[in-house]
Symmetry: C2
Subunit: 104 residues, 2 copies
């Protein structure tokens, strides 16, 4: 099994920017309104909107619209998918160790 070299970067881009990691940290206490994040993060509203798009595209965050508010939360499924990707690397690693150990 190999990682998809197109999809994998999309998933992990969520974790490749300082502001997005800050957002994820905020979201770990639970679902938050975009307006709330905006107060805490000291970035422009359009910048936040951009980051939320990257985060939802990655699958690590899901958005829910309620009236004119957008609520964002961390997706357990998204994290599990990312974890699975890392396990793919890990599993192959174990296999290759086994191979070199048993064949000679």
């Amino acid at each position: 099994m190999k990682l998809d070299d197109k999809r994998t970067p999309v998933v992990f881009k969520a974790l490749c920017d300082e502001n997005r990691v800050r957002i994820l940290n905020y979201l770990t206490d639970g679902e938050k309104c975009a307006c709330r994040l905006l107060e805490d993060l000291n970035i422009a509203q359009s910048t936040l909107s951009h980051h939320m798009k990257v985060l939802t595209d990655s699958g690590l965050v899901v958005g829910r619209k309620d009236g004119k508010w957008m609520y964002y939360s961390i997706s357990a499924e998204g994290i599990d998918t990312a974890t699975y990707y890392l396990n793919v690397l890990r599993a192959n690693l174990i296999d290759s160790k086994k191979k070199s150990c048993c064949k000679e």
Copy 2:
């Protein structure tokens, strides 16, 4: 527990570029010489060197020098660290669910 917003991006940058994911996939069959990667990947030598630096900085890959050759392999510890980071998000998520469930 929160993710370090400086260190986390460094770790996951390993997985944020198509060529680096290809490199990681190659390395899953075991340790490989840089010259070997160079043959397979169709990128300039200086570009490969740059990517190997990003990968080793992340901790997901380790390098070993043997004479004039550099051998690279995936680091189980590096993958475990990255997995741990994802678990931090996951664990907080479970905690926050528990909180909202029990308090009201």
